[in-house]
Symmetry: C2
Subunit: 324 residues, 2 copies
């Protein structure tokens, strides 16, 4: 293509998440065709225009995607596009970002519907159905994933311990933060479509179940990194509020937390945790729905800078004592 020895392009790919319609949603671009899956919003990094990558990113996200980002965080820089067909022009290094945004809130109950961001937002868990434990342990785990992994392990016995840890078998706990580790294992075991594409561009016969919806190139890997990082970060930094509107009930906060963590939490203890954290201030207003009206809270000082940013130490239950 070019004669320069290493022509490198930097591509900023961003997992933009929001909470909307009782779902954790991710913004996508492009049309899904049989040949090409959708992809994350992206833009090139242009060192001459933007001093830092984050500035560049915020810029084209606002232009192309039309949302204002609350929290922005660099995730990881992937250079091994070689794991995909390297027909692409130059070498592309993609820097993955996680961004959180708030849905616009209706000011009054009768206000315009929540400004249905015209973009293409999809439920995050369509890409990682095995990560959503809110309805209990997903059946696909015991029904499809673990059997298929076991079959794979017969050949590659090396990975047995990684599988055990990532998928919480044999006394190991399911750790909801290991999103990336699980996805990578499924990729290696050729249980996700991206692996099949990479292995063999010509439609080879698909073995095994093909799990979750695919994305362009390694974008699902970036998305997995994003979810894992967000789940992890929730516990020690107050990022959850960047997914919330300015006023919200504790139940809404809990719902959002549960969406992100992929598990259900104990309501009374969640309340205790949040109240003790001191992040919130009651507004005095209430919001009514079906049962008893709920108090509306807002962030203290409208800012997160107030206290030792400890985050919500949400816990997903104590490990059951195994044998011994």
């Amino acid at each position: 293509m070019s004669s320069t020895p290493t022509e490198i392009l930097i591509d900023l790919s961003t997992a933009i998440l929001r909470q909307h319609n009782e779902r954790l949603e991710c913004r996508l671009v492009g049309e899904a065709t049989p040949a090409r899956a959708k992809r994350l919003p992206f833009g090139p990094f242009m060192p001459h225009q933007h001093r830092t990558m984050e500035i560049g990113l915020r810029h084209w996200v606002r232009e192309q995607v039309g949302v204002d980002l609350a929290h922005v965080e660099q995730l990881y820089t992937f250079a091994d596009q070689g794991r995909h067909a390297s027909e692409e022009a130059a070498h592309i290094v993609s820097v993955g970002y996680l961004a959180l945004t708030r849905t616009h809130e209706a000011r009054t109950p009768e206000d315009t519907p929540p400004a249905p961001d015209d973009g293409d937002w999809e439920d995050l868990y369509t890409f990682f159905p095995w990560e959503d434990w809110r309805q209990g342990r997903p059946e696909m785990l015991d029904g499809q994933i673990l059997p298929a992994l076991d079959k794979w392990l017969e050949k590659d016995t090396q990975a047995a311990d990684r599988v055990r840890l990532a998928f919480g078998r044999d006394g190991a706990q399911w750790d909801e933060e290991f999103v990336l580790e699980r996805y990578e294992l499924l990729y290696e075991a050729a249980l996700v479509e991206e692996a099949l594409i990479d292995q063999d561009a010509k439609g080879a016969p698909r073995p095994q179940p093909v799990l979750g919806r695919a994305l362009h190139l390694d974008h699902r890997r970036i998305l997995a990194t994003a979810l894992g990082r967000l789940r992890s970060k929730l516990k020690y930094r107050p990022v959850i509020f960047d997914l919330m509107p300015s006023g919200f009930t504790l139940r809404a906060l809990q719902n959002t937390t549960e969406m992100v963590m992929g598990v259900n939490l104990h309501q009374q203890n969640f309340r205790r945790l949040v109240e003790k954290s001191g992040f919130l201030i009651a507004t005095g207003k209430t919001q009514r729905a079906r049962g008893r009206p709920a108090e509306v809270f807002r962030l203290r000082h409208n800012e997160r800078t107030e206290r030792p940013l400890s985050g919500l130490r949400v816990s997903t239950g104590r490990p059951k004592p195994s044998g011994k």
Copy 2:
């Protein structure tokens, strides 16, 4: 220099840490001259030779630096070299890495001295003296840093809250993980040499105290990121063992932890914590020095893959109840 619109080079800079001589040490390269400070070990990323950046990194580290890396972790990708004089040839994006390595252990007490890695290893805290609280709160904080920051805040009052949080004032706790935040503030307030260099290449009169030793370009920023990440990661993943030799006493483990965290820990509680974690197995051997001989432990299964990798939830003390 070149006519291509965006010629980008990727530079892998690595903070390689080890524990040696009762110190937490960092590997440096280059000679310090008045014009140029030392720098972190680095190498270019060559997409044609190495499939992933980490592979490339491990390769040239072994060649040039001559150490085997235990833990390797990508930290952050910095593109704003523009914050430095952009006379440099092309645009350089530097990907920062954190790597941990073990010092070679003498097999018997009379063995060859611990293979004094011929490289240039320096005490990490010469670059961040304010981060070491093992001898108590560093005097330079109240003596130099905070007064200078206050003076700076008179002009830029915006940053007051960031300073409060990062440096733990007005009831905020000192959070040992905020290494980067503190360094960035010192940079912005022009209290570190790198800031003076960037602002004005020609030796302008140095105001203020100049804190800690400087490094090339933004390498001290990478190092700050490394220390912060390591301090944070200790608490939830068992990375500390990648700094330890194969057999060690609990006191040695505690010393290493204290070096990293920059604080002293309660010995008995540390022991309880480690024992409960189940990471270690007593070898039956003991190691004698001055007082009662200490038992030598080693990692379980010689691997970290055993259990829910919870890390050592080291605590640095409960926040003192302030007013109310």
